[in-house]
Symmetry: C2
Subunit: 204 residues, 2 copies
Amino acid sequence: MKKERGILFVLSGPSGVGKGTVNRSLRKQWDGLEFSISVTTRKPREGEEDGVDYFFKSRDEFEKMIEQNELLEHAEYVGNYYGTPLQYVEKTLADGKDVLLEIEVQGALQVRKLVPEGVFIFLAPPSLDELRNRIVGRGTETEELIDNRMKVAKEELEMMDHYDYVVENDEIQAACDRIKAISIAEHCKKDRIKQQYLRILEVK
Amino acid sequence: MKKERGILFVLSGPSGVGKGTVNRSLRKQWDGLEFSISVTTRKPREGEEDGVDYFFKSRDEFEKMIEQNELLEHAEYVGNYYGTPLQYVEKTLADGKDVLLEIEVQGALQVRKLVPEGVFIFLAPPSLDELRNRIVGRGTETEELIDNRMKVAKEELEMMDHYDYVVENDEIQAACDRIKAISIAEHCKKDRIKQQYLRILEVK
């Protein structure tokens, strides 16, 4: 009988929000997800290992991967390429295991088009509480500061529209726990279980 | 500023599946949910306390509650009334706390109509694995046994269509963990967070 396909989870969000930190912490404590390793043309930083933190490639090698459709998504960021190897993701999902990709917003939108059934998680700064405090709080903030914060919140709001979940990164462990919960809950979705029932009933 | 309203979770499923056991276990270990206490006309069993396990009422009192719209749902089951007091649920949700109701399928369908934004969890017997084993397993089952199991599975499949999630009760702790995960994940749903952003942005 055909194996149940795994779920693709995409963790993304504005740069600087702490995607990498949350991703690394989750990796250490949670074996319910397989973690994809990105390909990049940027130089390894101290302590980074090829095949562990990233697959380090030259620009030529990377561009060949693009040409040969070996990347699920890729983007150029501060002069370097970053991408997700398609083969690993495809093989792991087909094997029935869930995969988590940690990528920039730009890449997440590419994946959304290719894998609409994926589960997209927007990691957000703890802006909501901050915002609430500034607006309804003690009134000591300048008008300008509030306006600026409102503008950023509006931009975040627009970005998150492409996602299924929003996880506020108020605290790393809390953010990790929410992502774990989302991955468990997604497996309990009625439509997913229904498909499993239907498949088994049809087997007869 | 107006408080965020809590989420109404409904735990239901075929009778005998273990709703009560899972509900009691969850109550002991999880303070992320408030638990509604049902009203019933059946006599207290040994060890059951009024106001803890149930609110025990006479048939007259119960029927008065129905007349005065004091119940969110009610059903008659083996000659006794069972119902959910509306006031407690409404007050707790308005207070920003989540509520879990454990009710029969008949009652769940009533609540679905009144509170469509509630989160409905179908507790299912571990039938999927059982079914899978019987069908693709060692082939030692009689045709009749398999047919019967298929029929039950089809009925379950129809029932679960009214729900958002299906939690298989293969093991009590595993079922509790899934319900906890669902309650956490629901709070991270994009649409819910988006509403919070919008409310705060409008406050200004």
